[in-house]
């Protein structure tokens, strides 16, 4: 568990981060979202002490981060940034093994960990281990950056707009990969973005920051359905709101028995996918695949009823 307790950073008399407190549960993704200048990056950098807080404290599993030397603290906290920041003069394997090397792992252990992470990120170890970052595509570089951050099995992973430099298609895949890996490893992640869509898709919890203050911290559904301030509502976008809400609800929640024409949706699809399929093909109901008892269906009327509940 990560406890951020009344943390403040003042630059030249102005608070870049103003008395922010929040708790991040172990094994969850918390996405901090805000416009540029909202203090989100400063907040993140205070957690691994790249920036020293003016006041307040961060505790990781009960231990105050101020009690440890900054560079030793950072070896326990994974860090991935926009534009990956890989070492251009080191191979992929040395980049990923950088932190284990600092922690004096044995050569064999480092090698095994590098191969394990490359496999996890769908990069064939034999093919990529000895390449240099310049020989990889943007998406691959970004994955190596994530692998490096995960290498020492850190207590916490901090990610500063990790997908910011990727094109939309690669970006979507990288988000899915991160979700999958996080669930597989049970990692605790704090991620920064300015993209509400990304925050809603990835976060177990979403924290919205505005002008150095934490204005709302809750589940994606809460943020979308009950924005605490005008600013949060603007970030969510009024027009997008019903669709964002629907994207958070799986079809399995309102699936019913009954026949429907046409191609079936997978069980993990969201109501937004179902709505889109109805509108695009002019159907009033779409079939949904499920295990065992044959396909069920989702009707346009039930999607509408669900959307009207606004939660």
């Amino acid at each position: 568990m990560i406890e951020i307790d009344g943390i403040t950073k003042v630059y030249d008399g102005t608070a870049a981060v103003d008395n922010v407190s929040m708790i991040v549960e172990t094994g969850t993704i918390t996405v901090i979202v805000g416009t540029s200048g909202s203090g989100k990056t400063t907040l993140l950098r205070m957690i691994n002490r790249l920036v020293e807080p003016t006041s307040g404290e961060v505790r990781i599993n009960g231990d105050a981060t101020s009690a440890e030397k900054p560079h030793l603290l950072r070896r326990r906290i994974g860090y991935a940034i926009q534009g990956h920041g890989l070492f251009p003069h080191h191979t992929v394997a040395r980049n990923i093994g950088a932190v284990p090397e600092l922690l004096n792992w044995s050569k064999g252990d480092i090698r095994a960990r590098v191969d394990e992470l490359l496999t996890l990120l769908a990069m064939e170890p034999a093919q990529f281990r000895d390449r240099y970052p310049a020989e990889l595509s943007g998406g691959q570089q970004q994955r190596v950056g994530v692998a490096r951050a995960l290498a020492s099995r850190p207590d916490l992973l901090l990610m500063d707009e990790p997908f910011g430099a990727l094109d939309p298609i690669i970006r979507m895949r990288a988000q899915e990969d991160l979700r999958r890996i996080q669930q597989q490893l049970g990692s605790t992640i704090m991620l920064i973005t300015h993209d509400m869509e990304e925050a809603i898709r990835l976060g177990d919890r979403v924290a919205v920051m505005d002008a150095g203050r934490l204005v709302q911290h809750g589940t994606p559904a809460e943020i979308v359905a009950r924005p605490a301030t005008e600013f949060v509502a603007n970030m969510v976008g009024d027009v997008e709101r019903p669709l964002r809400l629907l994207s958070l609800v799986p079809v399995s929640e309102i699936m019913e028995e009954g026949p429907a024409e046409g191609d079936a949706l997978p069980a993990e699809a969201s109501l937004r996918d179902a709505l889109s399929a109805c509108l695009w093909t002019g159907r009033d109901a779409v079939p949904v695949m499920r295990d065992g008892s044959g396909p069920g269906r989702v009707t346009l009327a039930s999607i509408r009823a669900r959307a009207e509940r606004r939660a």
Binding site: L72, R74, Q82, G85, F87
Partner: protein, 244 residues
Amino acid sequence: MRIGTILRPALIVVLIALVLRPTWFAPVFAPFAPAGGPVIYDRASLLSLSLSHLTLVVLASAAATLVAVTLAILVTRPAGAAFRPLSRTITNMGQTFPPVAVLALAVPMLGFGAGPTLVALFLYGLLPIFENAMTGLSTLPPATIEAARGIGLNRWQRLIRVELPLALPVMLTGIRLSVVISLGTATIGSTVAARTLGEVIIAGLLTNNTAYVLQGGLIVGLFAVLIYDALVQLEARLISRTGG
């Protein structure tokens, strides 16, 4: 096939022959010698002059590299930033001061011989190495440096593992410039009795023997061209490895 692949070995062969078997070139230089005068310099072995010349250059460049790079590292640390203008001024002065003047001033203190030449070459070589090392160390990719801090490298580890290796190609360019300037400048050292290839050139100038001047000049020139080329190759290899 590039022209270098033929030209390079050819120049090396010519240089070795000029140094080890100077008499072979007697017919080439004969037209430039005064009537009845000697054609090939034989007052000292050209090999020993070359070795002594190169030793002076290597020692002076090594010392200049050590001092200039150390200085560049210090002034690119946050604590040393205030000394940046001062160290610039000092190295600029080293470059502005003519080597001949340094020789003249150093002789009363260090006596005749290699000493004053080393001092002159050292001072003259500082600036290009310092300027390039400073540029290399202050234009590193910010994301890489940020990541190096973020994953827990301490200052020393960042310098040794990340900053210096990434700045190395730019630093090498400075060292290359400095070495080539030193190779030429070292010939002046013979005016204060340092043993360099300048001895051949000066002997030629004193006795009006153009053959000597050409012989000495050609050897120094070939050394400079070949060493320059070797360092360019080394830089290119380093750059291709770092993917720059």
